[in-house]
């Protein structure tokens, strides 16, 4: 599997790395050698800055003013009054996030150690599919866990039948259900971070500790853990942020008192000021975490690479251990593939046929036939593709230009531009939707005087804001890997600047851009969190159609839609894996993120 749809920003890349020749020439390049004019950067940057201001920052401010427009005191007081819904929701959200961090940390780090440090039967297979559960689109992912592990889920019912008990066994519900979903979908933040840190860890440092007489436990305590700390802190921050923004899991497991759910509930009840209040608080908390993360990543991480002896995986040799490892691997594969398998199974079940059985009893291909044959059923697919395509087109133009400006040009406010994009990344989808509603429920300059709420255009706009960071980051990572000396070499060989830029820089950045754009598109097709707040019956996207089918107990239809999303995602992951093969394999990871 090429590009995991989950990413971790552990590598501080060019921001913190020591002055390399590439960085030095990058500075040279930025200082105006490329374009001559001192004003050129500003001519390029001004429209970009306006876009970020108009569609990200200004809507955020609009939400805030909406929240304080009338009885602001009451709206915010809720967060400070004991026993109130607001306060309880904030506490719940934070507690869920903390628990998610702990669970994901344990699972992710353990997995990283197991797969990096040991060689056992089935290791390669597990490593290949370890990111599959997290790659599912947020809604269909959460639904698959509900179908598997809730009271009406396959596993508890199967155990019930097996043991002949009254009640389903090991069923999860409420907050426990939310935590199961979070653990399965977010442990990759820890897994990828710890795995990268372990790979980057010079094995001779550990050997030095053993050589000096340290026992295995002591090496863990005094060398490995301290050296993994940076990776674990960034993993923890990411999981915390993502959990805080999580909306689908609480929705499906009926945990109403979380921040995201309260935003949704108040918005659908028509209490926009209160929804805005929640959105403002959640937005501010997310931004604080973004700042914490940037601050932390600015610090050094312990990476030392030596050309010395490569680290060896320890072979599990004792026969009992091998058997256990084999069984464990099989169980692991089953657990990792169960969500996708469940969706595939249910997609072929007849709507309404699955009531109390362990698995659906009647199977049919009707669901797929309906989707493709009936225009009304096909419409959500058309909508999702159109909206995502429009959004992706905008994302490519703006994302690539911002990346180029931030990486290669020198101008005042460069880091503000960077932060603007990161803001879009940090804001939960729910908050993005509320922001756009607040800003564009009346016309303003950025909507050319038009009201956007309840129109088609608010949909691609929301997707644009949510997924802009993907193309920005993949492009910027690709740019960072290109030594500006290459462009200089082209110029030295007689190419004009546009020619050198097009034939060298653009050509080399292209795979990164395409990979980022594909990801943005695929996340658009899977988008649910923001859509559910802003769609109309004419613009209903796939995920919303899935949700509505679930409400009508048409699980077969819902799963069939979901299956189409899943297939699309895996095709795109394969394609971008191809694209990213080789030198810029990092940019795909940089670009992707879990869009829950």
């Amino acid at each position: 599997m090429g590009g995991p749809a989950v990413s971790v920003r552990t590598e501080p890349d060019a921001v913190t790395s020591a002055e390399t020749p590439a960085a030095a020439s990058a500075r040279r390049l930025r200082s105006g050698a490329v374009t001559g004019s001192r004003w050129f950067p500003y001519i390029l940057v001004l429209p970009l800055a306006l876009v970020l201001w108009g569609y990200i920052v200004q809507p955020m401010l609009a939400t805030f003013s909406e929240s304080v427009a009338e009885n602001a005191g009451d709206n915010y007081a809720g967060f400070f009054t004991a026993g109130g819904v607001a306060r309880q929701s904030l506490i719940n959200s934070i507690l869920i996030s903390v628990a998610s961090v702990v669970l994901c940390g344990v699972v992710g780090v353990a997995m990283a150690f197991l797969l990096r440090r040991f060689q056992f039967p089935g290791r390669g297979l597990i490593e290949a599919i370890i990111l599959v559960p997290a790659a599912l689109p947020p809604l269909i992912g959460a639904i698959s866990f509900q179908l598997l592990y809730s009271e009406t889920g396959i596993l508890p019912r199967a155990l019930q039948q097996l043991f002949g008990t009254e009640e389903p066994v090991l069923a999860v519900s409420g907050i426990a259900g939310v935590l199961v979903v979070h653990t399965f979908t977010m442990y990759p933040f820890f897994y990828l971070a710890a795995s990268a840190a372990l790979r980057g860890l010079d094995p001779s440092i550990e050997e030095a500790a053993y050589n000096l007489g340290a026992s295995r436990l002591r090496v863990w305590r005094t060398v490995l853990l301290p050296m993994l700390t940076p990776a674990m802190v960034s993993g923890a921050l990411l999981v915390f942020m993502t959990s805080l923004a999580s909306y689908t899991a609480p929705l499906l497991f009926g945990v109403d008192q979380t921040m995201t759910m309260q935003i949704y509930i108040n918005r659908t009840n028509g209490d926009m000021p209160l929804a805005s209040t929640y959105a403002s608080v959640l937005g501010v908390v997310s931004i604080l975490f973004l700042l914490a993360m940037r601050w932390y990543e600015g610090r050094r991480s312990y990476r030392s690479l030596s050309k010395g002896v490569a680290s060896h995986r320890r072979e599990v040799t004792n026969p009992l251990g091998r058997w256990l490892a084999m069984l464990g691997s099989l169980a692991g594969v089953a657990v990792l593939l169960a969500p996708v398998a469940t969706i595939a199974l249910v997609a072929f079940s007849r709507d309404g046929s699955w009531t109390t059985q362990v698995i659906p009893s009647e199977y049919t291909a009707e669901n797929f036939r309906t989707i493709f044959a009936e225009p009304r059923a096909f419409e959500p697919i058309l909508n999702s593709v159109t909206i995502s395509a429009v959004a992706t087109a905008g994302i490519i133009v703006v994302g690539v230009l911002i990346a180029y400006a931030v990486r290669r040009l020198r101008f005042v406010g460069r880091s503000l531009l960077d932060i603007g994009v990161m803001l879009a990344w940090a804001l939960p989808g729910t908050v993005v939707a509320i922001n756009l509603i607040a800003a564009f429920s009346t016309g303003n300059a950025f909507s050319f005087g038009q009201v956007l709420v309840a129109t088609f255009w608010i949909m691609p706009l929301a997707y644009f804001v949510r997924f802009l960071p993907m193309v920005f980051r993949s492009t910027s990572a690709a740019l960072a890997q290109i030594d500006p000396a290459l462009e200089e070499a082209a110029r030295n060989l007689g190419a004009s600047w546009p020619r050198a830029f097009l034939t060298v820089t653009v050509r080399l950045v292209l795979p990164g851009v395409v990979a980022g754009a594909l990801l943005a598109f695929v996340h658009g097709v899977g988008e649910f969190v923001a859509s559910v707040l802003i769609y109309t019956s004419q613009t209903e996207p796939i995920s919303v159609a899935i949700n509505n089918s679930m409400y009508r107990f048409e699980m077969g239809t819902a799963a069939a839609y979901g299956m189409l999303q899943v297939v699309l995602i895996f095709v795109v992951m394969l394609v971008s894996g191809r694209l990213e093969n080789g030198r810029s394999s990092r940019s795909a990871r940089e670009a992707t993120q879990w869009a829950g």
Binding site: E207, N211, L212, G213, M227, G308
Partner: protein, 356 residues
């Protein structure tokens, strides 16, 4: 302070199947500075890592004195290792790095502090204890690594190309330093390098390795003057190896037919097994070949192919009956240029027969 003995040690890595180290027998004497020398991939680092315990031999045994340590865990062996990239703990200060091994040995408090200070003083880094590792230069890091290995007073000191990341001048200073400290401590030391000059300058004895096997073990001078085979002769310094037909064989010398019908006498190791009509490989060092006039006694005639002035001497390549011969001459016959015919003298006391 202990003798280290390797008894028919082999290491086969599962992936390749070929032995990386093949039946190596070595005895490293108590207090000796012993070098494993060879080109990259010759098995020297693998051998060292088996002594350290990071690999277990596929077969054979390793002894520290009378202790069989063949399958002992690395943290139980009490060796001090200096890694090629130093492997200093980046999250610990200089003093904490040096003190790490003391902590594992339960040396604490003032005793630990005293020994850390002593070790840092020994490597001329007094007062650097509170520094962070990334605040040190490469040479300083190297010395911290050495202090960290020595402060625990290990039974053996293992050094894996510790100088390869330093620049040329610092490398020469540091090798003197390492040798001085090792002599003071008297620790049995195993040193791995691919740099033959380094090996010659530092070692009591050298084992030359190639292709996983030991080619020759001996004092630097012995290896230089009496190389066992063609590989050792050409790897250690530059050497001319001429294939010449044997015309007479004695127990410790052979007579070979040189060009121009001249018979040359060359010393040979005992049991060289050469007889008449066999071909002997005769090695002669460039600095031992003399360039003369054509009329000098016992001289062979050769054509100058190339001259290269290096400062200390001039490297001259001559064509001797179709074979290139390297000569390092301190003084050249006046006006010698490419294409000239010169006399070449191969002094019998410097001719040495090597095995293939």
């Amino acid at each position: 302070m202990v003798e280290v003995r390797l008894d028919a040690v082999s290491k086969v890595f599962a992936r390749s199947g070929d032995p990386a180290v093949d039946e190596v027998d070595l005895t490293i004497r108590d207090g000796e500075f012993f070098t494993l020398l060879g080109p990259s991939g010759c098995g020297k680092t693998t051998t060292l890592r088996m002594v350290a315990g990071f690999y277990f031999p596929s077969s054979g045994r390793i002894f520290f004195g009378s202790d069989d340590v063949t399958r002992q865990a690395p943290n139980k062996r009490d060796t001090g290792m200096v890694f090629q990239n130093y492997a200093l703990f980046p999250h610990l200060s200089v003093a904490q790095n040096v003190g790490y091994g003391l902590k594992t040995r339960k040396v604490r408090g003032t005793e630990a502090k005293r020994r850390i200070d002593e070790a840092l003083e020994q490597v001329h880094l007094s007062g650097y204890g509170a520094r962070r590792i990334d605040q040190l230069s490469g040479g300083q890091q190297q010395r911290v690594a050495l202090a960290r290995a020595l402060v625990i007073r290990p039974r053996t000191l293992l050094l894996d190309e510790p100088l390869s990341n330093l620049d040329a001048k610092l490398r020469e200073e540091t090798r003197l330093e390492i040798r001085r400290i090792q002599r003071e401590a008297g620790t049995t030391s195993v040193y791995v390098t691919h740099d033959q000059a380094e090996a010659m300058a530092m070692s009591d004895r050298i084992a030359v390795m190639n292709g996983g096997t030991v080619q020759q073990v001996g004092a630097p001078e012995e290896i230089y003057r009496r190389p066992a085979n063609r590989f050792v002769a050409t790897f250690i310094g530059r050497s001319n190896v001429l294939s010449l037909p044997v015309v007479g064989a004695g127990p410790e010398q052979v007579e070979v037919a040189g060009p121009d019908g001249v018979t040359l006498r060359a010393a040979a190791p005992e049991a060289h097994g050469l007889s008449e009509s066999a071909t002997a490989l005769v090695s002669v060092r460039p600095e031992h070949v003399r360039l003369t006039g054509l009329d000098a006694a016992g001289s062979l005639s050769a054509t100058v192919v190339e001259t290269e002035f290096t400062g200390m001497s001039t490297h001259v390549t001559v064509d001797l009956a179709g074979t290139p011969l390297h000569v390092a001459a301190v003084q050249l016959p006046a006006g010698l240029t490419t294409g000239d015919t010169v006399g070449v003298v191969l002094p019998p006391e410097h001719l040495w027969v090597v095995r293939p």
